[in-house]
Subunit: 649 residues, 2 copies
Amino acid sequence: MTSYHHQQNDETPIIHRTADYQPPRSWRTWLIGHPLTTADASHQTIGKAIGLAVFASDALSSTAYATQEIMFILAAAGTAAFSNVFPISIAIVVLLVIVSVSYEQIIHAYPGGGGAYIVARDNLGEVPAQVAGAALLTDYILTVAVSISSGVAQLVSAFPALFDYRVWIAVVLVFFIMIINLRGVKESGAAFAIPSYFFIVMMYLTVGIGLFRYATGSLGAVIDPPEMEALRGMAAITPFLILHAFSSGTAALTGIEAISNGITAFKEPRSRNAGITLIWMASILATLFMGISFLAGKIHAIPAESETVISQLARTVLGGQNVLYLAVIAATTVILIMACNTSFAGFPRLSALLAIDGFLPRQLAFRGSRLVYSRGIGALALIASGLVLLFNASVTGLIPLYAIGVFMSFTLSQAGMSKRWWKIGHLQPGAEVKERGSVLRYERAWQLKMIINGFGAVCTAVVMMIFAVTKFTDGAWVVLILIPVMVVTFSGIHRHYKHVATQLSLENYGAPPRVQRHRVLLLVSGVHCGSLKALRYALDLSPDVTAVHVSIDAEEAKHLQDKWETWGEGVRLILLDSPYRLMIEPLLEYIEEVIQQRQPNELITIVVPQFVARHWYHGILHAQTAFYLRLVLLFKPDVVVTDVPYLVD
Amino acid sequence: MTSYHHQQNDETPIIHRTADYQPPRSWRTWLIGHPLTTADASHQTIGKAIGLAVFASDALSSTAYATQEIMFILAAAGTAAFSNVFPISIAIVVLLVIVSVSYEQIIHAYPGGGGAYIVARDNLGEVPAQVAGAALLTDYILTVAVSISSGVAQLVSAFPALFDYRVWIAVVLVFFIMIINLRGVKESGAAFAIPSYFFIVMMYLTVGIGLFRYATGSLGAVIDPPEMEALRGMAAITPFLILHAFSSGTAALTGIEAISNGITAFKEPRSRNAGITLIWMASILATLFMGISFLAGKIHAIPAESETVISQLARTVLGGQNVLYLAVIAATTVILIMACNTSFAGFPRLSALLAIDGFLPRQLAFRGSRLVYSRGIGALALIASGLVLLFNASVTGLIPLYAIGVFMSFTLSQAGMSKRWWKIGHLQPGAEVKERGSVLRYERAWQLKMIINGFGAVCTAVVMMIFAVTKFTDGAWVVLILIPVMVVTFSGIHRHYKHVATQLSLENYGAPPRVQRHRVLLLVSGVHCGSLKALRYALDLSPDVTAVHVSIDAEEAKHLQDKWETWGEGVRLILLDSPYRLMIEPLLEYIEEVIQQRQPNELITIVVPQFVARHWYHGILHAQTAFYLRLVLLFKPDVVVTDVPYLVD
């Protein structure tokens, strides 16, 4: 029921009232569930177990290909070079630990979420923050396009009959995942938890059995390994080759930042829950990745387009293409598709933060009926499907665009944290300083933390630059153009909002003079009950009424004139002859003239009789000039437009 | 310059004013030419020579296939049956003469145009008139689809590489012809005159040389005639076969009615000019058709899918596949495409007549910038392209739908004329009776004229029924369903217009009571210069103002409340808490409540502050709630909506 709450006040009566509007059941209810009230927000948070499923699928899916990426580069120097796979993997895990520790600190320092964007904003300034935001948003979009396209590619290689429909399958999948995400973070987490945990279990099983068989000496080499491509095995093992392999392997790190953007999705105490989830995720990622890299070396796996390293490992460890093997392959396919769900969790939250700061349209900060940022989710689905269509669901076309953004954000977030330690080191012990997104408190050993974050920033910057250079001509240049363009757009939007706020501000608002004259123009298309109702309204507004009729037919105008003399209550009528049979342009010209003749403090109101039919489709049978005219007048700042409806029923 | 013309009047000042609005040059000017003033109408009429090109292309193009259609049916009884081709053609020409004489009379009796529709309306009643209108409109649409599709089919058989694009070529051709027609009847006539006359000349040349060579005995049989299909030649020559061949040959008559619909396109004296053009057209059609049928028999032409009879005739008469032969084939292809131009002349005029009578949306009676019924032209192009797309530009799919409509209109127009002679016969000699579309004067020998028209009606009715029966399962049933559906739609539209006219009529309009109370609701999204401008306007309307704010964020609502206490001029503020974060629905619910509490003669006005940005694209950055709300309120008959704009610049 409607509840009222009257507030006692000296001057202005202010009434609080809760709308008892109940959203009706509709196809939307069926599709995304019952609307939730704002007060339900705390029930829509997730725990650590679901959080891991929502935010980790992207990072964990990279274990499916990171080892192979290292081996593809090393293959240039022949199979002997594969002895470097495990050492390189250890180095990547070290970088993973540095980046994870850094994000762990970010999660506790910035409990409102936002990751690299907020860290950069509060420590490095607006432009680095916008760069971080642009880089991450780009990366989230690409993650969706790449993971869906690669998942569909696997599906199509299993069912070649679907090849012609691959693009549409990909688009449908994107919208399917969009809808699940529109149902709310809790429901999408529950839906995606099972495949995520299934993947984790299957991978641990494979790695565990593999290590056990290695320890017991029963693990042999791959039977019938795929052939390496002929041209490989010619190069020497140079430091550059090792570095290149290292940077390719850092694909394992993508997705690690997602939790820091989505802290607000977690149950209270949310920083603690998010932090623990991050530690879990990093631990699973590190152990699986190291285990796979180690075993891949031992079984002499061969990187090839025709069979993945994971497949070789699984059939060697599990003893052939049995049920367990098929389960591993299925779990891998599903997790590759689900990697995109992390983007659906991260993109809307990040774009809402940018929107609240005025860098993106404010509507992106609006929470939909299920309390998720539904417009951000929709925007992500639309842009990603657009990319899928543009690149014809080809993974190779999209891959080069990928991963630069995320390393740019790693670099900025760690550089920002370095700066933050420096600021903390220069505080008095025990002092507290409030910033926009966090509170600074003195800590000991800040120098060490600053150096670790600084080293991490340098490492990730180097990886980013290797990516940019090695993949520049493959398409990475697109990202390097896109990010500046996005930053410029963000700034433009920000300027607009600031400008509007200044213009509308009441700072210098003096008491304006009261309206002194009120001139009313009444548009008349014919003399009938409807226009006479509008005439009465116009006369109620002001005695200064002018009726205007656009005449395209002299006979009709004569008829109208006769009727007006009877019914027009003596109001002045202007017949505008329109030789070119146009209705709107002559009216606008006349209105423009009236505006120019305006006196100081004179108000001009245009009264438009609006025909309202019983059924919307009757609208087709009427010219709707009033409607078009109003659309045009809407953007005229000098006149007030009033619709006086008349119903026919 | 603007000219004023004040009218002396006792009470009401009425000012005549000619808008000096000059339509700007734009892409429209480039596409369809400069706008014409209504006063230019008399310059936009056409003479007999151009009129023949505009209105005759459909009828003349049928000489390209009518003989062949007769032969296709007779082929069932073997080549011996072809001796009946010429006698059947003579019978068809007799029918052509009857129908033409009837239309000649219609043109003089109904100088306002409209053909079968007007004749049926004034003599047979509303339902037959609507049937005639529906039948003709259907036929015009089909003519466009069929002629364009068959033209493209010829083009594609010459350039097979274009086959995959045939549907789009057809659609582009439809819109090309649409644009030429939008340029005005005079310009389209000039554009189409050259190919029309080229076709006429080439055909007379072929028939003339053919007859000359026949007379001098130098005309042989076709060399290498195409083979007849194997299964043919088994049936006997029954009266039914002859009748069937006759009805197929009556395809020659389609298009004969076009001039009667378009009399108003002709220069004054328009009935006379239109009548002479009709006589020309019928004469050319009759002579060419008879000549072709005669010669086809003499050269032993064979009907076949692989080569048309016209092609066989041309190469036999002209002595091989030389330049003249190619010119005949090219002229035939072009006239087949141009046949659709007759529909572009007839359809818009007929639909405008139906619109004026209130059977179609009134907008169809609007004459565009070039004084043609541009909306009818556009509608025809859209519907015909839709058909082309639906039938994949296939002629065989469309042909069965074709020609029933035109024979239905022949039957109705001749039955109507019969009835008219009967009415005339029962007048006093010398008496004159005015009807809506014509004047009745006594004439002698009315009995004979009545019998001729009655006989014509019976003949065309028989042909129509043969069409309907023989082609029923091929798709003619579509037309037989479509025409009744259209008639029902016409009646529905008519009822709606009549109802609106009654409702708005001032017949029983008493002097209504003046407005006694005026309640104003002011929608407030925030307290700023813009909403305060709207508040001042609201207070100017009435002292009874209530401000309403939908609150989706408690903090923001508190902030607004504080500001309202300072700036709200003591106006009552209602804070509507929206637990589901909806803006529009809670407002509508509240407005509904206010409407229900309304006192007698109380007026409710909703004042909506409208943000107006300097550039339209800034609109993307604002929620536009006001805009959506107004769209919804537009269809509420009980409230007046007032937009108070505020500009940010």
